[in-house]
């Protein structure tokens, strides 16, 4: 990788810069919010839009739709990245914002499977794909736009505000869902209330659109265009020429692939593990994740700022290494904390009403078991001490996320030249996050199920795992391990310039 000459041509003054950061971050935040409410409401959506006779099949169908939303992101990166390098950053990320807003709002308006039959899941799938396309084009534009306005020695700090939006978007999506749920009965939420978070998006998108519409085009892009230095074929130049393509591959395998799995493990897999493996109460799980995200979000900015001083590479790699070494102990601890077998039951407080049995434990945890048609559905509401411990364990993972994710926008922007930056940085980012990261919940759940099934058989052989509930972690550990070694060996330590 060559060092490019230092320049400050694109740097805006302080007030303008904060407007640029604010407008870019707000739009990206809304796009993440739109994207995550679908995942956060996956269980409800599965009962509304997919054939209800088999809940597992319905849930898997939703996960598949979720995966489709992720898999399509790289295609959005290619389509909108090309537009961004041809016509400009500003207009392109205005289009992605509107597309995302329309798709999200439409999901909230689609009639359910019981009303329009098989058309319902098909429409939802199409809208989900549109969301994925829009998100694929949004992030690269916002990161590039902010970076091209920033001073060279503060680029990590300035772009780290964009990095907070993904986590903050997830936090807001959980908050809006919880707020909606708490404002109505469970029946009303299940009937129509789940649509509210989707419809709320339309208001936020309109506000963000008008803020962004008044922004100026990126100064570096304007300069390149005025000088006739923009690319006429960004796709060919990005991926058809070895000089650039080798950096696209390096960005993917040495950074974004590992970053993607750590991001999704620390936030989504933690949520899924608490709900599906540990059987922690749905609302309480959201509070645990929400509290950890809120406490950890500021560290995106801290590590972005630190990356301007010590370099992007050491911080990102340290985050990957810590995650690789500590994921299994952390998740084992989460499991032990929520396992009723490790607690002492207060027998005198046990009560049974109809099909429901309630058990109370000495740490304040309450286990509710409901027997329906021969199957027992358990849910545990943990005591306050355990709750704090769980928040802390998720918070540690959020810190890893902030280490690998805080500096990465500046890192990616600095890898590629102005003329093809939007295209070149968007693709590895969305393959790393959308595909390697986005498929994590499905792959990890599959690994856990396989290990649990194998462990139950006497001749399981090597498939038998001592702690099958931890089997899902092999996916992020192996992927992040590859990324760590490649990043350590092949990435340059020194930060690059943007021109």
């Amino acid at each position: 990788m060559t060092n490019r000459p230092n320049q400050t041509a694109g740097s805006a003054n302080g007030k303008t810069l904060w407007k640029v950061i604010g407008a870019s971050s707000l739009g990206t935040l809304i796009e993440w919010y739109d994207f995550y409410i679908f995942g956060s409401l996956a269980l409800v959506i599965s009962t509304k839009f997919f054939p209800p006779d088999n809940p597992t099949a319905a849930f898997l169908s939703t996960l598949a739709t979720f995966a489709a939303g992720f898999v399509v992101r790289p295609f959005g990166a290619l389509f909108f990245g090309r537009l961004g390098d041809l016509i400009g950053r500003k207009y392109t990320f205005l289009v992605t914002l509107l597309l995302m807003g329309l798709a999200t709002c439409a999901i909230g308006l689609v009639p359910g499977y019981e009303t329009i039959g098989f058309a319902a899941p098909v429409i939802v799938l199409i809208l989900r794909l549109l969301q994925g396309l829009a998100l694929g084009g949004e992030y690269g534009g916002a990161a590039t736009y902010v970076a091209e306005h920033s001073e060279p020695d503060k680029r990590g700090f300035r772009t780290s505000w964009i990095q907070t939006t993904a986590t903050f978007g997830l936090f807001i999506s959980l908050a809006v869902i919880m707020l909606t749920k708490s404002s109505m009965s469970a029946e009303a939420f299940d009937d129509w209330g789940w649509r509210v978070p989707f419809l709320v998006s339309s208001v936020m998108v309109v506000v963000s659109y008008f803020i962004r519409r008044n922004m100026e085009e990126s100064p570096l892009f304007k300069k390149a265009k005025a000088e006739g230095n923009t690319s006429s074929n960004p796709l060919k130049e990005s991926f058809g020429k070895k000089y650039n393509f080798k950096f696209v591959l390096l960005a993917l395998f040495g950074a974004t692939m590992g970053q993607g799995v750590i991001w999704y493990t620390g936030q989504f897999y933690a949520l899924s593990f608490l709900q599906n493996v540990c059987k922690v109460d749905f609302d309480q799980t959201n509070y645990i994740i929400g509290a950890a995200l809120l406490a950890g979000t500021g560290f995106f900015v801290f590590f972005g700022w630190l990356s301007d001083r010590v370099g992007r590479k050491p911080i990102m790699l340290a985050g990957m290494l810590l995650a690789i070494l500590t994921y299994r102990p952390i998740y084992d601890r989460i499991y032990q904390l929520t396992d009723p077998a490790t607690k002492t039951e207060l027998i005198e407080q046990q009560r049974t009403e109809g099909d429901t049995t309630v058990r109370v434990y000495d740490d304040g945890s309450v286990l509710t078991a409901v027997e329906t048609a021969g199957t027992v559905k358990q849910s545990i509401h943990v005591g306050s001490g355990t709750f704090i411990s769980l928040v802390w364990l998720v918070f540690i993972q959020v810190i890893y996320v902030t280490m690998v994710y805080g500096p990465i926008a500046a890192f990616l922007v600095e890898m590629f030249p102005v003329r093809i930056r939007y295209t070149s940085m968007s693709l590895p980012y969305h393959i790393g996050n959308g595909i390697f990261g986005g498929l994590l919940p499905a792959v990890a759940t599959y690994l856990v199920n396989r290990a649990q099934t194998a462990s139950a058989q006497p001749d399981a052989g090597w498939l038998s795992a001592d702690k099958p509930y931890l089997a899902g972690l092999w996916y992020p550990i192996i992927i992040a391990g590859f990324s760590f070694v490649i990043g350590l060996l092949y990435l340059k330590r020194k930060n690059q310039d943007v021109q």
Binding site: S61, A67, A68, V71, K246, L249, I435, L439, F482, L489
Partner: protein, 72 residues
């Protein structure tokens, strides 16, 4: 360091090929032939998305490393 970077190119190529074999032979083919509709989506993702990215990407990356493209 340059020698290590180049030599590891072989490892990246081998890893790409091994991952491709695993995804297709151990995952996609059994799922395509299971006849269950819920297996179709993962099989398609393995075959047309993950395998080309991991196998193709790692093989090209390994080849570039082997050729010394990342020496500087």
């Amino acid at each position: 360091m340059k020698t290590i970077k180049r030599a590891l190119g072989i490892l990246w190529i081998a890893s790409g090929l091994a991952a491709g074999y695993y995804l297709i032979v151990s995952q996609a083919i059994p799922q395509f032939s299971s006849g269950r509709s819920e297996d179709l989506v993962p099989a398609i993702i393995y075959t047309f998305i993950l395998m080309p990215i991991i196998t193709g990407g790692l093989c090209i990356f390994g080849w570039y490393a082997l050729r010394g493209e990342y020496d500087d």
